[in-house]
Amino acid sequence: MIRAFASGLRVHLVQLLRSPFDIIGMLVWPIIFASIAYYLIGVDGSPGLLLSASLGAAVMMMWSQVIVGSGFALDNQRIQGTLELLVAAPVPLAVLFAPIMIASAMFGLYGLLVTLVWGRFAFGIPFRIDDPVAFAAATGSSIVAIGLLGMIAASTFVLYRAAFYLGVALQYPVYIACGLIVPFSVLPGWLDPISWLLAPTWGLRGLREAALGGDPWPDIGVCLLLSAAYFVIAVPCLWGFERLARGRATLKLA
């Protein structure tokens, strides 16, 4: 299973890196996200606040890449006829889907880099990481957690051909609920419990703490715990939706 996972990660990353459409999107999106974040904070914001906004934009990228990019990737699997082959494989579907999600989130790494570089050169946001080791750990744990959160949504993609649009619809509510666009302080209190259940909240906190000087390890720990929880939820969801898809004949496009 580990081999199938690792091989899947490599294959799906290579697929993404060979797609001109994805590469162009990846170049343009971070610039738009970082620019919006910069103008939301304002030009007179503190350097720390601006870097924090840049990191928020990077996590937005990761989430978008997972929820929209992976939906697109799974839709492509259906169109190119490989979805049926993955379902018919002896390895559990969760082991085959997780690399697609995580590869999409990893692609968001590229977005993180572009966001930070754009922020530095276009807006003069300082690019200084207080604890590089913790920053790397926060990045890794965010990728895994956000990827596996996407896998729960992806289980519906197996059943519904139009589930791709569900991913598009889920982009913005998560940006807001996780404090990626505006600070939690301006959000209603009832959103707090929802944000605690979402990986981007803790991913951003970990990255922010590691970059600006703080203790990111509890946030990294929560990311890893959430990853395990997401996986435990995603496995039966995938199993159930696969069974429904076999009943309703929705694995194939035509």
Binding site: V11, G81, E84, A89, V91, A249, L251
Partner: protein
């Protein structure tokens, strides 16, 4: 024990088009289908488009649940025991889908070898052996998107064989291939049959089934209308002669007149470049030629031949009854 058993399987597809006043449309794709395939046998499932061939294969390969009835693959139920069935089967479908186009052939095989649990020690040797078998050695590092349809089809076969499954499902594997590519693929299938694999092959090329299959079943409108050896099916119309008339500009009215002719049991038309080949089945033999030509008065006829029926003629007769 049979390697594959299908017992009274039916499958109904339901769809609800529209947004308001939605109505349910039901299509009975399979109706009480039963057959069995012995271990090491190459069994052909023949039928026109939409007859239910692919639906049958999808049920047996665990991708679709039957509405009723049951099936067994090497003793396991594909509906309720998919994890037992999946390691034992290989599934190859026709066309150029089912591959990662931006990856090389080698990368595709490498990935599917991991997905289908090919032991890591034998993975490279197995891929090499299969590249040799399907004639893709030397091209394996090129991206699949640069492959011809025939090459993609051969890569499919290699993918389906990676884990050396005892049972293979080949769903119209030669569809869309050029004659040389199709012949090479048939040779590969014959090699697999000789190696003792149990194979279910679907096709609508009768000569393919005649050349490869020990037994065949003809499916039409979701029902099995006949099954047995190709010779047995041909024997069903052995008392008939097929008169083949090659002509130009035969209209529907003329065809209807031929169909109404006494002693004619089936009429089909094939396009051959600018000409039409009218195939007329009859028990009257060569006596029918003159009445036929009388009906085609005014039509340009280039040749008329009488021959013994083939499996294709038997198929036309069986499918035509549905």
């Amino acid at each position: 024990m049979a390697a594959i058993e299908v017992d009274g399987v039916s499958r109904t597809f339901r769809s609800r088009p529209g947004l308001f006043k939605r109505r349910t449309i039901e299509v009975e794709a399979l109706r009480d289908v039963s057959f069995s395939i012995e271990a090491g046998e190459l069994f052909g499932l023949l039928g026109p488009n939409g007859a239910g061939k692919t639906t049958t294969i999808k049920i047996l390969t665990t991708l679709l649940l039957p509405t009723s009835g049951s099936a067994r693959v090497l003793g396991f139920d594909p509906a309720s025991q998919p994890t037992k069935v999946r390691p034992l089967i290989g599934y190859v479908f026709g066309g150029d889908r089912g591959l990662y186009d931006r990856l090389s052939g080698l990368d595709n095989l490498g990935y599917f070898a991991d997905v289908y649990r090919v032991p890591v020690r034998s993975k490279a040797a197995r891929i090499d052996e299969l590249l040799e078998l399907v004639g893709l050695r030397g091209r394996e590092r090129e991206r699949v998107e640069t492959y011809s349809r025939g090459m993609k089809q051969r890569l499919h076969i290699a993918r389906g064989l990676l884990h050396d499954p005892p049972v293979l499902f080949l769903d119209e594997p030669t569809i869309g291939l050029d004659p040389v590519g199709a012949r090479e693929l048939r040779e590969t299938v014959a090699t697999l049959r000789d190696a003792g694999k149990t194979i279910l092959l679907t096709t609508h090329y009768m000569f393919e089934a005649d050349a490869l299959c020990g037994r065949v079943a003809v499916i039409a409108g979701g029902r099995i209308v006949a099954q047995g050896t190709p010779s047995l099916l041909k024997a069903g119309i052995a008392d008939r002669t097929v008169i083949e008339v090659e002509a130009y500009g035969v209209d529907d009215a003329a065809l209807d007149r031929i169909r109404a002719l006494e002693g004619v049991s089936a009429v089909t038309v094939e396009a051959r470049d600018q000409a039409q080949a009218i195939l007329v089945q009859s028990r009257l033999g060569a006596q029918l030629i003159q009445p036929l030509l009388n009906l085609l008065d005014g039509v340009s006829v280039s040749s008329v031949t009488a021959r013994e029926p083939t499996l294709e003629d038997a198929y036309v007769e069986l499918v035509g009854r549905e």
